[in-house]
Symmetry: C2
Subunit: 339 residues, 2 copies
């Protein structure tokens, strides 16, 4: 670590002069409860005496305004979101931008002002990772109110007209879901079952469209939660049914859950049952047996979203497309059905 610059006045100095704890100074600054009026006045006087300033001064000491980008997202721990974030972080770091992530609550009701208030200032550089309803709403608000600075990734809640928008980067998981379904049908499976993750309607739609195109009435999709455990439970009925020979899963965690359930039920993969995942987790290729799945380049999309934002801010040449298109990766959990 480098040595510090000249030491600015800190909350510590204020506390010393006011004769209170640092916690109390912090409470005064934050307008928190449990501070007596007299104490509050003493702290405010100390702040004035010392010329104590908010951290903008620290930022200035560090060499002027830091260029930053704010990322709006909901759950940061889901695979697709985490990888997209990682791509944004990598590209931003390379360009000397710092990254701020503003985490939204998928169950909360936001106003336009709430969304705009999440930026450090109006017109601030922003990227929305739009994988659900709340973030898709945020994307729309920012696009309409600050069109020059918003880039979004995602897709399933969008109207068709948005697909070619010059502010939007998305992976077409619907088309590749259809391709994965056709791949299983082409090997001789009479139908393909679908184990669904919450939300992602585009994957389910692609699966249903491929079955319809082949003249097959789609079986009821089976809903699963996000976890491997939930998938193993949700798939119990499917793997117990010998008529079920192929299952497309909403992501790789669900596929791992199905493989576990199939093992428990004594059904061999891919002999008795073909299992296809979605996302191509790093583990998929190293799983025993290696998992057939769909490669989705979330990290590349994150990098692309940042590069597009920068292009819109600073010009240069349009960076798109710099990520891999979705692709079916055939490994060892899928094959023709037994006759």
């Amino acid at each position: 670590m480098s040595a510090a610059g000249p030491r600015p006045v800190s909350i510590f100095d204020v506390a010393k002069l006011a004769g209170v704890s640092h916690q109390t100074v912090s409470r005064v600054i934050n307008d928190a409860p449990m501070v007596a009026d007299a104490t509050r006045a003493r702290v405010k006087a100390a702040i004035a005496d010392l010329g104590y300033r908010p951290n903008r001064s620290a930022r200035a000491l560090a060499g002027g305004a830091v260029r930053s980008v704010t990322v709006l997202t909901t759950d940061t721990s889901l695979y697709g979101t985490a990888e997209t974030l990682r791509g944004i972080e990598d590209a931003a770091r390379a360009a000397g931008f710092s990254v701020l992530i503003s985490v939204m609550d998928p169950d909360q009701d936001y106003s336009e002002a709430d969304i705009l208030g999440r930026l450090s200032h109006d017109g601030a550089a922003a990227i929305v990772i739009a994988h659900d309803e709340v973030t898709t709403y945020a994307m729309r608000v920012l696009h309409e109110r600050q069109p020059g600075t918003t880039v979004a990734t995602g897709g399933e809640h969008l109207g068709n007209g948005d697909r070619d928008a010059d502010w939007l980067i998305s992976l077409d998981d619907r088309t590749v879901a259809a391709r994965a379904t056709r791949y299983l049908l082409d090997m001789g499976h009479r139908t393909v079952h679908y184990l669904a993750i919450p939300g992602k309607a585009s994957r389910r739609t692609g699966w249903a469209e491929a079955l319809a195109a082949a003249g097959i009435t789609a079986p009821e999709a089976v809903d699963s939660g996000w976890s491997v455990a939930a998938a193993a439970e949700a798939a119990t009925g499917l793997v117990a049914d010998p008529a079920v020979t192929a299952i497309l899963c909403g992501n790789d965690d669900l596929a791992f859950g199905v493989l576990h359930a199939a093992h428990r039920a004594g059904r061999s993969v891919p002999g008795d049952l073909s299992v296809v995942g979605f996302d191509d987790y790093p583990l998929a290729a190293y799983h025993v047996p290696p998992l057939t799945t769909v490669d989705l380049d979330f990290r590349g999309v994150g990098r692309g979203a940042f590069d597009l934002l920068r292009y819109k801010l600073e010009g240069g040449s349009d960076p798109r497309p710099s990520w891999r298109s979705p692709e079916l990766v055939v490994r060892e959990t899928s094959g023709p059905p037994r006759q």
Copy 2:
């Protein structure tokens, strides 16, 4: 989504009045290059005419200052960090705080001012996820300069005196690494090999201490990168050696890589080789065979860090400890060595 409140003046309005694009207004606000002086002046005049204000006004419309906590971390996509973040997000959401994540570069040299400048204001509520050198430095800076508002999670880079600090929450992975090593020795393995993740010295130390306590000279630890692929590669020599009967791995991804390499080398698990992971990923229990590993409650630690922060800001009762202690979870990838 709720309807918007009264519409504040937006960047869009400024652009219209100045007769420029929204991108141009954004460039002026961001002090970006490629704007002619005359254009810049026109935009600034429009900003003044319309009384356009930064987003603090939007925040006020949304019902006053939003209580927020800033989380400092490096890579958001690593399992331990992602789960800790998720725990912080869950607890903050339940308490009505919004979460801002400030992403640091593990390879950058930060000054004190850089660190302090990452908070929205001096004294702002902050949590550091300290899993590497940069974030441990950030934790120290914030603890020294703003002691009332800093809570940190992590541990391996800390001096002993910090372990009982009242602003620090950490999981003791050193002790449980020793316990996992002893478990393997107690079953009759002559020694235990270690496949190491980058950084995490505490796990390696616990392993070495347990061997030393048993009077065994520790074999050279084998270094691996973070990925399953890197681990499968790094473990090639270990799994090829019939004298190696037990491998402790720095995390579950590494354990999955070892299982893949062992399968490729034709060594059976746990008959020929015992494999023990670290972290207890959600997949571990559902892997075929289920993985013996160490349960580390990162999500609970994240929740605990937020609860401790809130306790320090607002009082109440000390929330610690509200998370599970690290524990060895014996499943089916470990057993006694063949005689």
